[in-house]
Symmetry: C2
Subunit: 271 residues, 2 copies
DNA sequence: AACGGTTTTATTGCATGCATTCCGTGCAAC
DNA sequence: GTTGCACGGAATGCATGCAATAAAACCGTT
């Protein structure tokens, strides 16, 4: 990881000199408005520090920058983010409620360790959510939405062709997120994002073989076509298979306890 | 502005080395400035204040004590809970991430208003989750789990027979929660609880007619029997129908104008 | 050297002070 | 009568200080 990624947040090391004006330098305070608004729009509301810290920390955890089980020292994070402990602690509480951080009372916070059993469980829930998402997408998505997903797909394929794993994965995630969004159910999309963030961290532990990677791309291709044809039953099956393969790839790195394996199994039931 | 003098001696020796009891868990009604002894309950556990505040506020919101769209004044809540603003604000941030509270930057927090469209969306997600929960319950629940749900069911029926709506509803909720739990998927249960809490508040807007109430009890009866028989396909259908009826009952009686969200006691003792 | 208990140190949890922002109010201008 | 704006009270956002707690270091005893 290049150190420059953090430079934007280390710009104000002297917060403690005297009671001065509010911190405005370390975390660039951009508009908290809906996507589409320019970050530097004049007159836009500034994002509160606790919210900025939340997003930065969540990003770092999901990206694996902050490794599972890593200790989160408040003082260190404050220095890195250039904020005081109050907004940082507010952010940590939210991350804990999201499941990305574990709070040990009087002993600080750690990044949630990756528990294979828990990952299995989340995969099962994601399976149910994706099935619903697929149905809603087939029914409600605008043609423009599908076109956008197709564009994302081609970008993803381009990165696949170049062997750019990180970029590939980014678009891969975007496709799944958009699929959950275009059905028009915001609560579904939010829930999907929440759970997806928790398993996204596990991707580093799944060794993506060349064959599996190619297969995943083919599966995405089929998913896209089923969506374009608005063939909900077929899309549901494809999504379930795709997720099952993804989980299997993960479980290869984390051997499963056969006794409890079926507890997290993806939902059955024919289309 | 007064330039407050900063004490330079940071290494101030600590006076106390005695194992003094932590502030409290029950959240005292008085200012915690005095470290003096207080006749607190003997079973005082060591729950942090922000966590205790979180649970209390969540309970009050879900129960409707804090009505939808009610303004949450920090100082008032601090006085009610007997804590300072720091842990209170941490709790509010978590409630916001759970969707029970809406934060208006620089303008405070309000209890999330009940948006019929959002409730519909959540019902759809709950449907997908209940379907998965039913399958897992049929497959994995221990006989003791089913017996426990049956016991809850009978208690619920008893309250129905007495016309005790609040108690009936409490057991009703417990049954659904347990159903999500006994399948052994903790992530599913947590997600279900999270979303369920958001729609539970809407129950006051659904006027439960005598006929609908009786029908709901019959539906629960059938659900219980399908679970006892571990008939997953039938259970899935029953759960979906039950949820559909619940949503229909809510949507029928929800006031057309969302501004009528003014029932319930917003805050006792407030101005 | 190992062990139990005590002091030290680092870190968390909470309360509080202060600057900033928002909103209502009153007054002036149109 | 309406609009615009300055002013003031009130509430929020954040930084910081202090107490409480757990881990680490210490130290004498066996």
């Amino acid at each position: 990881m290049h150190a420059d990624s953090y430079r934007r947040f280390a710009g104000r090391p002297r917060v403690t000199s005297k009671p001065s004006r509010r911190n405005t330098a370390a975390i660039p305070r951009r508009a908290a408005a809906s996507p589409g608004a320019r970050p530097d729009s004049p007159g836009a509301d500034l994002q509160p520090l606790h919210e900025a810290a939340l997003e930065r920390l969540r990003e770092r955890i999901v990206r694996g920058d902050l490794a599972p089980a890593a200790k989160l020292n408040e003082r260190v994070l404050c220095a890195q983010l250039g904020i005081s402990r109050t907004p940082l602690r507010e952010a940590l509480k939210v991350l804990a409620s999201e499941g990305l951080v574990k709070l040990l009372p009087n002993r600080g916070a750690v990044v949630s360790p990756i528990d294979p059993q828990r990952v299995r469980e989340i995969f099962a829930v994601l399976g149910a959510l994706e099935a619903l998402a697929g149905e809603l997408a087939c029914r409600n998505a605008a043609e423009a939405d599908i076109a956008e997903i197709r564009a994302l797909h081609y970008q993803m394929v381009a990165h696949y062709a170049r062997g750019e794993l990180a970029e590939y994965f980014r678009f891969n995630q975007q496709i799944h997120i958009r699929l959950a969004e275009v059905g028009g159910n915001a609560a579904l999309a939010a829930t999907y994002r929440l759970l997806n963030a928790q398993v996204r961290r596990a991707r580093y532990f799944a060794n993506l073989s060349g064959e599996r990677w190619a297969q995943a791309v083919r599966e995405h291709e089929a998913i896209l076509e089923a969506l374009a044809a608005r063939d909900a039953p077929r899309l549901t099956v494809l999504l379930r298979e795709h997720l099952g393969h993804k989980m299997a790839a993960f479980l290869q790195s984390f051997p499963a306890d056969p006794e409890t394996a079926d507890r997290g199994a993806a939902s059955r039931g024919g289309p």
